[in-house]
């Protein structure tokens, strides 16, 4: 089986119940079940996760490098958008 015949998948791991999934890496697999199993074997060997998402890389829509200025530069003078003006409750966890 040649690996370049198998599609690329992106793997997201949820480290703990309730927290957000984080991108862990990518892998090759021929079907959903293989992608899930490979993700388990590649990215959760050291108890990194409690849940796995896999998604075909072709289904991810990415912005381009030429989008960078119009997308991101307008935010650079808007400090009021940072939440640092609020006091964080001691009870709030997982922020």
């Amino acid at each position: 089986m040649s690996k370049n015949k198998m599609p690329l998948w992106e793997v997201f791991i949820q480290p703990k119940t309730g927290v957000q999934f984080q991108h862990a890496g990518s892998l090759h697999a021929s079907d959903k079940e293989m992608a899930l199993q490979n993700a388990r074997d590649l990215y959760t060997r050291r108890q990194e996760g409690t849940c796995i998402w896999v998604v075909k890389a072709e289904h991810i829509v990415s912005s381009n490098s030429e989008d960078r200025e119009p997308f991101f530069d307008p935010a650079d003078d808007k400090v009021y958008r940072y939440p640092t003006f609020f006091k964080v409750s001691k009870k709030a966890k997982g922020l």
């Binding site: 089986m1 198998m6 090759h28 021929s30 079907d31 293989m34 199993q37 490979n38 074997d41 590649l42």
Partner: protein, 251 residues
Amino acid sequence: MDKDDLFKYVLALGDDALILGQRLSEWAYKAPFLEEDIALSNISLDMFGRANLYLEYATSLNGCDTTADDLAFKRNEREFTNHLLCEQPNGNFADTMVRQFFLDVFNKLFLEKLIESNNSQLSAIAQKSIKETTYHFRHSSKWIIRLGFGTPESHTKVQSAINNLWLFTEELFEMNKNDIQIADQNIGVDCRELKPAWNNTVNNILAEATLNRPEDGHMITGGRQGIHTEHLGHMLSDMQYLQRAYPDAKW
């Protein structure tokens, strides 16, 4: 309960895990693709971990100061009592997956029963191992279906692996006098009772994979008596080389 009888029983379970683990480790850096390479190595390490638990427990039963390493690396071929299926060569990927599939189905049923053992050590080992084996079964059974459904070539290869390994499956359900005695005391498992469920799962997966179950013909047994196929000796010469050449070497 005679400790020596229990020793033999536990040793055989340890040998099954050790020999299969060693076989799987031979795939490291040679698997068809990187992801599967790591999957096979993971399963191999699970089997080595299990072998260690059984062999450590065995050393506590035999009254000598042998270690688990002594049992693994300083016994000869005829002293190993693993099932013959565990020692069969990796062959092609389909051969390895069929061997794994047959054993995973068996181990799952075996461990589910061993959990109920009134021997707390064996029950604890089974509780830990069943989770691993449940995953191994998921991995190997999906591969059987994938290969059966895959290309004409993969279908042919997986069918011929099934045909070639079939004659080693009967041994899994064999019980010698010692096994029967230990099962009768609710310490061990009566493997004869596992066969209908094994048949059922194997039949279902093979049917789903559009593969044929071979007719039961000539069956080979003898592993539990230390009578092995020609492959075990070669494997041990590899596995035991370092301890044989440099006794008690540590790193």
